[in-house]
């Protein structure tokens, strides 16, 4: 584990480089939506492995339960009944952290080391360093992190970093009954997806494709979609996700520049004083009032 702690690509609110000499395999989870039956085994395995338990909620007139991601539900199935040219399709997508190569959450996080990106691609929250500001929620292009009401820390899928660290697949991957979720090196996962896409195209899904959005530098959780041209059909999977321009402004160069500006004001003021001296009452005026 101590070695693992050095295999870091990025660390939130840290401007110097992390030790990163080691080159570990870049991993990825591939979710083949076309094989998914929406059984929620992944949801259960996730909670079981991570020792979280959500509330026993209510039925909201749909199969989705829990209805949304929470600090205890790090993954949920989202069900969409969509009419396409093939008739009715029940598009079921496992939602959760995409483990972006350019993570918006990490970019937004003000707490040093509360979010890290390991060299293998996993973006992990270190709740011990989290201050609970929720900036990561603001920064995420996929609306994933959730703030716990209990401890005001933010939680999300860790891609089972603890399992991956010892060479195992994530819990959801292992449990998936139909093999809709697979795990391996990112390279292998892309190859696996390509095989699946050939099969889907043979079955008439002309627009089948891989979802690995480049707007966030690619992701370490990818989807095989029957309709890759319309990801929004899958309960609003963003078509072209990117770290929002506002987040860019907010967390980009603006802040060092603003800091510099403040520094300049201080320095400028000092310089002004040195150059011009204080603004005092004129001697003439003084005299007048002495008398």
């Amino acid at each position: 584990m101590s070695l693992q702690s050095l295999d870091i690509t990025r660390r939130s609110a840290t401007t110097t480089a992390s030790p990163g000499q080691r080159q570990t395999t870049e991993v990825a989870k591939l979710i083949d939506v076309t094989k998914c039956i929406g059984c929620k085994a992944c949801q259960v395995a996730c909670m079981e492995w991570n020792d979280t338990r959500d509330d026993i909620g209510e039925n909201h007139g749909v199969y989705d339960n829990p209805a949304d991601l929470t600090a205890n539900s790090w993954t949920v199935m989202r069900y969409a009944e969509v009419e396409t040219d093939r008739g009715l399709e029940w598009l079921i997508r496992k939602d959760g952290c995409m483990h972006c190569a350019e993570p918006g959450c990490l970019k937004a996080c003000p707490a040093p080391g509360a979010i890290v990106q390991y060299r293998n691609g996993i973006v992990d929250f270190q709740e011990g360093n989290c201050i609970g500001c929720g900036y990561c929620i603001t920064g995420c292009p996929f609306n994933i992190p959730r703030l716990s009401k209990k401890d005001s820390k933010v939680y999300k899928c860790t891609l089972c970093s603890d399992r991956v660290a010892v060479g195992l697949e994530p819990a959801c991957v292992k449990t998936c009954p139909t093999g809709a979720i697979v795990f391996g090196s990112k390279e292998d996962m892309i190859r696996h997806a390509e095989e699946r896409i050939v099969d889907l195209k043979q079955r008439g899904y002309a627009k089948a494709g891989l979802y690995d959005p480049q707007g966030v530098g690619g992701t370490h959780v990818m989807y095989v979609l029957h309709h890759a041209d319309r990801p929004e059909m899958y309960c609003g999977l963003p078509k072209d996700p990117a770290i929002g321009p506002l987040v860019g402004v907010w967390k980009g160069a603006a802040k060092p520049v603003a800091s510099l500006a403040l520094g300049m004001i201080a320095v400028g003021a000092f310089a002004h004083y040195v150059a011009n001296g204080p603004n005092e009452v004129d001697e003439e005026n003084e005299k007048e009032h002495k008398e």
């Binding site: 003000p110 900036y135 929620i137 506002l246 603003a258 003021a269 011009n276 009452v281 005026n285 009032h289």
Partner: protein, 210 residues
């Protein structure tokens, strides 16, 4: 302090207390806010009991400053109305910075610069409060769509920087203009000082123009 016939009362006790309360919370807010602004300032969190405490306290400081600043606003809003003379004053402010006040029109109790500062601060406060509510994660953020939250975060940061810059200027000018800090500390200024810096006010207070 007993009234000194040589001196003029510039700020009442209530005004002074109000000012310093706002100042106090400004420093708390700026210090805690900068923690989230950039990693460079993160160590400031130690002043507030760590990162999490800083996150918890900052918005409550905001609530406090909103309360006191509102008080200030009602105290000074009338005396801060900008007149044509103030604009004229502002046009000559650059000369003043170089120490040359010959062409400066006579300032009242507050000069054009001070008034402008007041309204700038009011603007910043409005922006900070509104955007601050939107990004107050514990109570309000879930009410707004993420794009609004993102916009609010940018506005909050920007307004915060502007406000800090303004206050830095304000502080420097207070230091630069000798004796003005005393005016805010004990309230009294010498007649000469008043005549020098706020001639119109001086006349108004003394009825004299020498």
């Amino acid at each position: 302090m007993k009234p000194d016939p040589d001196k003029l009362l510039r700020f009442t006790t209530a005004e002074r207390i109000n000012h310093w309360l706002v100042a106090l919370f400004f420093f708390l807010l700026a210090g805690s806010g900068l923690v989230f602004f950039h990693p460079f300032y993160y160590p400031f969190n130690q002043l507030f009991g760590g990162g999490t405490w800083t996150r918890i306290l900052h918005p409550f400081f905001g609530v406090a400053i909103l309360f006191f600043f509102t008080g200030m606003f009602f105290r000074f809003r009338k005396s801060s109305v900008l007149t044509p003379t103030d604009w004229e004053w502002l046009r000559h402010a650059k000369e003043l910075a170089r120490g040359d006040h010959r062409n400066l029109p006579e300032a009242g109790k507050l000069n054009g610069g001070q008034k402008l500062m007041f309204w700038s601060l009011v603007c910043c406060m409005v922006l900070l409060v509104l955007s601050g509510i939107v990004i107050w994660r514990a109570y309000f953020s879930f009410l707004f769509p993420v794009t609004v939250v993102r916009l609010a975060a940018v506005i909050h940061a920007a307004a915060g920087v502007v406000m800090i810059a303004l206050i830095m200027g304000h502080i420097y000018l207070a230091i630069w203009t000798k004796e003005s800090i005393g005016a805010m500390l004990h309230g009294w200024v010498r007649r000469a000082w008043a005549k020098q810096h706020h001639p119109a006010w001086f006349r108004e207070m003394t009825g004299r123009d020498e």
